[in-house]
Assembly symmetry: C2
Homo-oligomer: 200 residues x 2
């Protein structure tokens, strides 16, 4: 098996896993269903992944790599003030609900179903995502536009929690066929959070 073919097969399994997990739920989904959806033999999955939890974690890492790269490029390109870049980050997070619904559901629902993921996995990609938010906050604290007395770590976790819950609500609403106004939600959320961070 050539290296290229192997990379391609691994990617196909990950893409299939995202669809199957979103459709069936992580716990109900079986590895054999992922294999079928990817068009590979059951045993092939175990050439790339140890077990279902490992598949979930690798899928998460793969998608986070993509999201983090996109976010970093976008923020670098736009320039602007810390507040403007923060607003952009909020929008890019929430827009997943309508533009990448399977992925949004994976992040907000399926991921939490793995005890292993929540409690044991160190989660470096999640830390990386948090550190992008943290970078914006600390830059703003440094240039005097954000309040310096707030503990950046607490602020960043709270911001992530707010983004995540808003994404969950929008994603489930979108799945149920309800009208979702991502731009309005992102604007309100950015206003709310920036109001708490901005120096008077």
């Amino acid at each position: 098996m050539s290296r290229e073919k192997s990379v391609d097969k691994r990617q196909r399994i990950l893409d299939a896993a995202l669809r199957v997990f979103a459709e069936r739920g992580f716990y109900t989904a079986r590895v054999s269903e992922v294999a079928r959806a990817a068009g590979v033999a059951d045993g092939t999955i175990y050439l790339y992944f140890q077990n279902k939890d490992d598949l979930l974690i690798k899928l998460f890492e793969d998608r986070m790599d993509f999201l983090i790269r996109r976010l970093n490029e976008d923020l670098a390109e736009m320039g602007g003030t810390c507040a403007e870049r923060f607003g952009r980050l909020v929008h890019l997070h929430l827009v997943l609900s309508t533009e990448a619904t399977d992925l949004a559901e994976f992040i907000t629902v399926e991921l939490r179903q793995s005890q292993k993921f929540i409690k044991e996995y160190g989660n470096p990609r999640f830390q990386e995502y948090l550190s992008i938010i943290r970078g914006i906050i600390e830059e703003g604290q440094g240039d005097g536009s954000f309040r310096p007395e707030l503990d950046a770590r607490t602020v960043v976790r709270a911001i992530f929690g707010a983004l995540d819950e808003a994404l969950l609500a929008l994603t489930l609403a979108h799945r149920r066929g309800r009208e979702v106004d991502v731009a309005r939600a992102a604007s309100d959320l950015a206003t709310l959070l920036l109001g708490g961070i901005r120096a008077d």
Copy 2:
């Protein structure tokens, strides 16, 4: 079986389920383990609950009833401004991490493992909890202390997300034996969120 004995047995099963879910995780835990921990026969559980998902949902409702009652009593008793009551709510939420760790872990980790709970259950108790937060926000918008232009529904979801993520972080840190400063975290979080809500 007298009614009193029956209520007692149901409660014993719920208490045991909380311990077993926290220890083993919702998906790994078996109904027979809950039965053993409660000191009842396996079949007895099915007199009160349809299945494991139903047990999880009823456990959630039981504990939320308790938390909502405590919160309402506490807020009614303290009086004070909307901002002060909001600060109290934040503190009461986060203090679960150290004072009711099993319950905090149940809310932030195990509950998410039920596909049924997240996607199908209407969750009236969660709505009730949100409506307490919403009541404080709308009262503040009414008396001019909070910004009237923010959509209360978005704000409330975001606040809940921030509280929930902070509770998860504190609970896991406490479980791992790390020092947890609940008062500091609550104060920072209340400052952050109030800053975003307060009228200028």
